[in-house]
């Protein structure tokens, strides 16, 4: 203790001296990573969260049974590496998988991780009282049983290529003993959802809303200590402040640079940027059904030719360059290039303004009164597009689209809405058009929900366009049940071709996520679905540390908890 004190004193005296210690594995540890972010997490509870930041934090605090490989293959257990489960065995009919829990695994409060925690996680996630968004994705899992405290067996309804993915990826495991006493309906507002206790390599220290979230290395972790001592998210009130904090060196890492930030970053020799392939795409989506009466087609967008004409009138690649510069590519369709099943040469509806005008003319939409807007039977070709006002990229795309469509004689009003209001309208299908963005998961199967008939008919479905084409559905289903990559790819390609030609949306952009980081930071691979997945492997060389790297670390759980409780 006295020695420790002396050491601390030394730290204070020699602020710039480094106190790197060696971890058991021999890799140097120490250092603080400060990530700039522009908003608070919503809730630090894996089955309830919806913000990306919350996912980053909980992914580091909680563990899954196994994690997906960097190739993002979802086929069986290809490329998956052990986490909480140190090994697993498939049932003979492949309808069961038995996971063996790593006996060394402990929760951050010191209790061991047991198979009952896995079962508890599954049961709570699929309980409709909780209202988890994961529930729908877990439909193929019948149940989880626990023959002994170290074994959790997943029982599936059907044999599918992504069984293993469903069982492991979708559910970070939560501790039963922490949550069981709380009614499911009260989870959302609970203290536990603000002070997570997991089994990951980082433990939670504090969350001061609008200021910071701090994690510290779980030095006693069953997988060994992570290399960085601490990870802190510095929460700025808005995007620009977040960027400025990064540029000024107040933070080390910024997760999503905008094109206009690149020259700024370039002015700082100590800063670097790095791109990785993302899983998101942005599109202008039409409501194909009449908002007033869903039984009827939409008076404008019900017509496939008209929708195709709108796509034709849109110079997508120029728009993308205008808004994202080099940080995005034109979107291919309802998919991203990172999937191995995506053909990067999918045929597109070309930009052809004269042809678009021709089509609109032939459909009877003509500008008879010379006001620049086409009309048919007295109804002008006019609609409003709803965009979340907080998303600058989408607002910009909408304003550009407005001008492009104006040239084709289409009047589009841009309506900026607050995100919750917009989501509500989409859910009720009470909209004409919107600029949407999907951040997909490693599985391309999510397209079923967002563009398939299932997602259109189900009350909680996210196919807001109500696009329904059996050809598309059939090809997606075939792809998802196929174990052979070329076959999967062929089916998906057919499905994508179908939907692209039906044009329920104008496929706008596929952003290329670009992170900025301080050169002292040694990054590991940035995984497409979660750049933060490998944060425990990031490190800062001892000779490049700065005072904040050596700030004392909260070590014990008790300390961590009291620090957590301090937050109002």
């Amino acid at each position: 203790m006295a020695a420790l004190k002396r050491k601390l004193l030394l730290c204070v005296l020699l602020v710039f001296a480094c106190v790197g210690t060696e971890s058991p594995s021999g890799a140097p540890t120490g250092g603080t990573l400060v990530i700039s972010t522009g908003a608070d997490p919503d809730i630090l509870m894996p089955s309830l969260l919806s913000s990306v930041l919350a996912a980053q934090i909980t992914d580091l605090v909680y563990d899954r049974l196994a994690v997906i490989g960097d190739s993002l293959s979802i086929l069986n257990d290809d490329g998956f590496t052990p986490r909480l489960a140190d090994r697993w065995t498939w049932g003979a009919d492949s309808l069961t998988i038995a996971f063996h829990i790593d006996p060394r695994a402990k929760w951050h409060d010191g209790k061991p991780v047991r198979s009952s925690d896995v079962r508890f996680t599954f049961q709570s996630s699929t309980d409709s009282t909780l209202g988890s968004q994961v529930k729908a994705l877990l439909s193929n899992i019948d149940s989880v049983t626990t023959p002994d405290s170290a074994t959790a067996v997943f029982w599936f309804h059907a044999r599918t290529p992504q069984q293993f993915y469903d069982a492991t990826f979708l559910m970070p495991i939560i501790p039963e003993h922490v949550w069981q006493g709380i009614a499911l309906s009260a989870w959302r507002g609970s203290e536990q959802a603000k002070h997570p206790i997991g089994s990951g390599q980082y433990r939670f220290v504090r969350w001061v809303p609008r200021a910071a979230v701090e994690l510290t290395a779980d030095t006693a972790n069953y997988r060994g200590a992570p290399r960085l001592n601490r990870v802190i998210w510095s929460i700025a009130p808005d995007f620009n402040t977040a960027v400025t904090r990064f540029l000024s060196g107040e933070t080390d890492f910024f997760e999503q640079l905008r094109p206009e930030n690149l020259p700024e970053v370039a002015k700082h020799p100590e800063l670097r940027t790095k791109q990785y392939r993302g899983l998101g795409y942005i599109f202008a989506q039409f409501n194909l059904r009449d908002p007033a009466n869903r039984a009827r087609p939409h008076p404008i967008f019900g017509n496939r030719e008209l929708r195709r004409a709108l796509t034709m009138a849109t110079d997508r690649s120029t728009m993308v360059r205008s808004v994202f510069d080099s940080l995005a590519l034109p979107a291919l369709g309802p998919t991203v290039r990172a999937y191995p099943t995506t053909d990067p040469n999918l045929p597109q509806i070309p930009f052809d303004l004269p042809r678009a005008r021709q089509i609109l003319d032939s459909l009877g939409w003509r500008d008879a009164n010379g006001d620049g807007v086409r009309e048919r039977n007295g109804r002008p070709l006019q609609f409003s597009i709803a965009v979340p006002g907080t998303s600058r990229g989408r607002v910009r795309l909408a304003v550009l689209l407005q001008e492009q469509l104006r040239q084709a004689g289409v009047k589009m009003d841009v309506e900026q809405l607050d995100l919750p209001v917009l989501i509500e309208r989409l859910r009720k299908r009470a909209f004409d058009a919107t600029i949407g963005a999907w951040n997909t998961q490693p599985s391309p199967g999510s397209v079923r929900g967002s563009w398939g008939t299932v997602g259109s008919r189900a009350s909680s479905g996210t196919n807001y366009s109500s696009y329904e084409n059996p050809v598309f559905d059939a090809n997606v289903d075939s792809a998802l049940s196929s174990f052979d990559l070329p076959a999967r790819k062929a089916y998906f390609t057919k499905a994508y071709e179908t939907i692209i030609q039906d044009a329920p949306a104008i496929w706008l952009a596929e952003p290329i996520p670009t992170v900025g980081y301080h050169s002292r930071l040694q990054l590991a691979h940035l995984r497409s679905d979660a750049y933060w997945a490998h944060i425990p492997e990031w490190w800062i060389p001892a000779d490049k540390r700065i005072p904040r790297d050596n700030a004392p670390v909260a070590t014990s759980t008790a300390q961590a908890e009291s620090a957590g409780k301090k937050t109002p």
Binding site: A236, T244, A551
Partner: protein, 323 residues
Amino acid sequence: MLRYVAGRLVQAAVIVAIVATISFALIHVAPGDPFSAVLDNPNVSENVRATLRAQYGLDRPLPEQFVRYVGQLARGDLGWSFSHDRPVREVLASALPNTLLLMVIALVGSFALGILIALIQVARRGSAIDHTLSGISLFFFSMPDFWLAILALLAFTYWLPLFPVGGAVDPVMHEYMGLGGRILDRLRHLALPALTLTVLASPGVARYQRAALLDVLPADYIRTARLKGLTEREILRRHALRNALLPIISLLGLSFPALLTGAFFIEKIFAWPGMGLAVVNAIGTRDYPLVVGGVILGSIMVTVGSLLADLLYAWADPRLRAH
């Protein structure tokens, strides 16, 4: 005096009651039900919705809702902020000290600066210095709050990075600082917003005070003072300023709304975690209870401020003190 205070207190209570009525009307007359966003939001938990319904008694007849609402207000219950997932009162209470700190510094700073400028101007009235200062005052006086704040941010955090960007403390390192470091950290973060608000508020004070001094100067008693053989300086300091301070106390009361408004924009732009930032952010998230709570609290602050100013005036003016 006591009667006067009592009268003013009653008046303040009436004001708060009317503000409450207005806010109630806003909630219920507004076409886009301000709670639809909450009540339909899948991310809002059932008990929050239940609280909201109970709070506003949304399914009861209007008069009953009103009585309920006023009762809750009287108990200091401003409802539930769903974007913060905490009672509005707590959100505002934790933000209020920051806003008050900003306002008090700006108030003291702007009055000191404003009076100083006015004294300089009046001492050299008609000179080039007077005209220049008048011009500068008017220029800043005419500046929209948010625009000056944007410029200040641009100038002193981007172009000339003297001050940290946003917040009340360093979000990362503050926890790890010693006492001295923490104080320094706070001051560094406070400096720019407080200075900006001071600069925004000073011209009004300077202009008002200059006019007040000039109003006083032709007064016969100033001539009397001159006649006694006092120097211009003594006259300005002893006789004129003392009299011109009375209108400045009225200005104190009048300047609260402007100061609060300025604080709103400044908090937004400098991310200063006060009630302005809370309310402005609540606009974005349509957290209506928080917005209304902010309006009510802001009005109370203004009312209390002008009440204090009035009492101060009554105390400072011998003609009123006697009664």
